[in-house]
Amino acid sequence: MSETIEKPYTAKDLETDQDVRWCPGCGDYSILKQVQKVVPELGIKRENLVFVSGIGCSSRFPYYMETFGMHSIHGRATAIASGLKAARPELSVWIVTGDGDALSIGGNHLIHILRKNFNVNILLFNNQIYGLTKGQYSPASEEGKITKSSPMGSIDHPFNPLALCLGADSTFIARTMDRDPTHLREVIKRANDHKGTSMVEIYQNCNVFNDGAFFIYTDKETKAVETLFLEQGKPLIFGEGKTKGIKLDGFKPVIVDLTDGTAASDLWIHDETDRVKAGLLSRFFDNPSTEGHLPRPFGVFYTEARYCYEDALVDQITTTIAKSGKGDLNKLLKGGNTWTIA
């Protein structure tokens, strides 16, 4: 977005007069704060910003953003945003959704917006639980999860959200987390810069119904070993003191010890435009309790330049008008064959 704004606004200007009503300690607070902080840096007129959400805790988000907003119905924010963007391509449209809203009831619309590639940003707050209905397992919850609706443990195999999105030909996929504000802001910026549907999965802690689901990736003691921060053109390095790396053995990712003398240049170099590697990265999804598991990647997995639906739609209209002129209502009413009764 290169348009100039007459009068810049601040994070404060994006706060509404409504009391924020998430549970105290909810990860959503942090995400709201970072979004309010980063959006003024994007150069978008405030009146051109629209936040559309579905139903769930995260979907209350638009009420707290002093922009245009719609808190719609369960699972349908993606469909509503598609129509809005098709009608008004110049708007900056953001979808705020959760793992239930996007992956369960709205699963169909999610895969279709990704393949259609409207130029919108999706912020998927993944807390791996149904919070608003007070704690049932979600399609992102791990197998065996004990909840009120699964007292003997969930028998649902979970989605791998980013692998699903990649499978739907998403042109931008990234992962970040509520407890890493700097990274969160950077990823949001990247998502906004991307032309096409940008899918950002945000690990978000639900401290009431699923507390600590992601602590292993956010706590000081484990973060370095369990997370892998992706940077374009850089080798995959992680671990305490950056002592571990990932190498590709054919298509098999292998953890290597850099203190053994393995050179960084032998490692897997991250390339966001490589679809095959993005596919492998999205499968770094092991349960962290399994022996020899791979670290969980964060950052931009994949980007691809592909035409946006709304541009092609407008293009067909302008091409038609350029070729055969603007429609004439009188001609249309008259049709091809007429007769006169005198």
Partner: protein
């Protein structure tokens, strides 16, 4: 041999054959030619749900009924004068539609043992040979053989030759009714311009059919139906779905809004999408969504953005859209929901007509969710009524139902089309941009009609939030306050009731203002009721006809009209829906008269009911 010409006022032809026989095309072409000639006309295509049901079977029979006349008509005809059948199944399925003494034109090749078997005639029975059709005038023509003969030097394959059979039949019918071939030849030239061999073959077969009538000694009579004395003016032929599509474009032009059409293909609504997708030069944005819910979702987004947003479906799809309709109603944004009704419930009878979604339109949502409902009564009326639906949606900031059905959606009639300037303008009221220091924008502030303004993204200073949760009056903030909820429910209801101030009063279509019997209809039953009531009045019966276009809110004077009659009969192609509404709202002893056969009422059925009621 000399040929005579018999002048007649009113002819109904039914073309019937396999759904792959090109019957619909032959029927449409004959319709266009006869429309250009200046007859009044009404058509009724009737096809199976399967695209290509097994060839030769009863399930695969497709029909196209056309009535054309030199007098004013309102229905495609109760009973046929001429039945054209391409095979035995077509005869078996449609013979009951033919009047005694009517003409059968049969493709004899379609009556071979295989076809007779497929049509489930008993072994060794051929209706063309056993005198069972002696009440009719039967003409056997071996269309298949004659077509092959005519194209033997064309170089085309047997399949391609076979596909031109419908042109032979069309050529013959054009001859029989004294119509020239120019319009059809022009159509063929245009359709096959990229394939000259097929173009030539079709034209050749068409001409062969025409000349066959001229030279064959079996046919001695041609028919002449003079021009109809319709109201003066310029006419075109139009189908209901086509009229709806044009009506939407006209509404967009007259409101200055961009038309956004979000939909998912479903019979019998899809043709509107096909039509609109062609009109990119009017800036129309069509969006084929992944499902019914996404379809209405996209229109809610587009409407929020300031477009004239329209979604369409049939009963099953409308059921899926229910929750989203409620959202549009809460957001108080304009939206037109088109329901081209078909037989229900569930998948029901996809290609057959019914009026069984009225109560769904009126009441089929959770919560107190009133939505205005308007219904078209004929193919060309789809134009006027969908335009009116757009007007109400935009000027009253509300979702609106436009009801049509398979019968008028696919049926056609002559239309004295309007000029663009003669159409009313539709006034969208957008909230103005605000400057710093201006009072905070209140999205749910209303005018005297209780209508809020359209506050679209991109307008400075109007940043605000809307949603499906109950809103506080004026501010639009979330509110769980009990009094506020009751107030908002009543306000939304009153807002819809207020629309009654901007719609015409109910008229008596035909007959006296007061009397023994009032027939009250809505939607596509108009033609049959009109024809029946007109006939009954001519015969001296005390009967009147009122047809309701505005089903919610109802016209203010409707009660008064109803109270002026001793008896009220409500014919509907359902199990009694409008009748429930009238009884509920006006406490009148209205009586249902129902037909639920996937077929429209014939005028005779309604007439009989009138006579029976008044003779009691």
């Amino acid at each position: 041999m000399s040929k005579t010409t018999e002048v007649t006022k009113d002819i109904t032809i039914l073309f019937a054959g396999d759904s792959g026989d090109g019957i619909q095309l032959a029927g449409t072409q004959f319709t266009n030619t006869t429309a250009l000639f200046g007859n009044d006309l009404s058509t009724f295509p009737n096809f199976p749900a399967e695209i290509r049901a097994p060839q030769g079977t009863l399930a695969g029979v497709s029909g196209f009924q056309l009535r054309f006349s030199s007098i004013e008509i309102f229905t495609p005809g109760d009973i046929c004068d001429v039945l054209v059948v391409m095979n035995a199944a077509a005869l078996k399925a449609n013979l009951k539609q033919l009047k005694t003494g009517g003409i059968i034109i049969a493709n004899s090749d379609g009556f071979d043992p295989k076809n007779l078997g497929l049509a489930k005639y008993p072994a060794s029975v051929n209706p063309l040979k056993d005198n069972s059709l002696e009440k009719y005038k039967v003409h056997e023509v071996d269309v298949t053989k004659l077509t092959k003969e005519c194209l033997k030097e064309s170089g085309l394959g047997i399949k391609e030759i076979d596909r031109t059979k419908n042109m032979f039949v069309l050529g013959f019918i054009l001859w029989m009714f004294n119509r020239d071939m120019d319009n059809t030849i022009k159509y063929i030239q245009d359709k096959f311009k990229k394939n000259p061999a097929v173009m030539d073959a079709n034209i050749k077969t068409l001409k062969a059919g025409y000349h066959f009538g001229d030279t064959s000694e079996t046919f001695t009579t041609r028919f002449q139906v003079e021009k109809a004395q319709l109201e003066k003016g310029e006419y075109r032929n139009i189908m209901g779905n086509q009229a709806a599509a044009i009506g939407l474009i006209a509404a967009a032009e007259r409101s200055g809004l961009t038309l956004f059409y979000g939909t998912y293909p479903i019979t019998p609504a899809t043709d509107i999408l096909h039509e609109l997708a062609r009109y990119k030069n009017f800036g129309v944005k069509t969006f084929q969504a992944e499902d019914e819910i996404a379809a209405i979702g996209s229109t809610i987004g587009a409407s929020f953005g300031g477009a004239l947003a329209v979604t369409a479906s049939s009963g099953p799809g409308i059921a899926l859209k229910g929750e989203a309709i409620g959202l549009a109603l809460m957001l108080e944004i304009p939206l037109v929901i088109i329901n081209i009704q078909r037989g229900g419930p569930s998948t029901g009878l996809p290609t057959k007509t019914e009026q069984s979604d009225l109560l769904q339109a009126l009441y089929g949502r959770n919560g107190e969710a009133p939505v205005p409902v308007v219904a078209a009564y004929s193919p060309s009326d789809c134009f006027t009524t969908v335009f009116e639906a757009c007007r109400i949606a935009v000027e009253h900031m509300t979702p609106v139902f436009f009801m049509s059905d398979g019968y008028i959606a696919n049926g056609s009639e002559p239309w004295k089309f309007p000029t663009a300037d003669s159409l009313p303008t539709i006034k969208a009221v957008f909230a103005e941009p605000r400057n710093e220091g201006d009072e905070k924008y209140m999205p749910y502030k209303r005018d005297e009609k209780l209508v809020r303004k359209w506050a679209i993204p991109g307008t400075k200073g109007l940043e605000h939030r809307v949603g499906g949760i109950e809103k506080e009056d004026i501010t639009g903030n979330i509110s769980y306050d009990p009094d506020n909820h009751e107030h908002m429910v009543k306000t939304r209801a009153k807002k819809v009731e207020n629309i009654a101030d901007s719609i015409p009063l109910q008229q008596i279509d035909n007959g006296k203002e007061k009397g023994k019997l009032l027939i009250v209809g809505w939607g596509s039953t108009y033609g049959s009721i009109k024809a029946a009531v007109r006939e009954a009045i001519e015969e001296g019966y005390d009967v009147s006809h009122a047809h309701i276009k505005y089903l919610n809110p109802l016209p203010k004077n409707l009660g008064e009209i109803l109270y002026n009659f001793e008896n009220i009969i409500v014919p509907e192609m359902n199990n009694g829906q409008l009748v429930k509404v009238l009884r509920d709202k006006y406490l009148v002893p209205a009586v249902p008269f129902n037909k639920i056969k996937g077929m429209p009422f014939s005028a005779a059925e309604i007439k009989e009911k009138i006579v029976e009621t008044l003779k009691k």
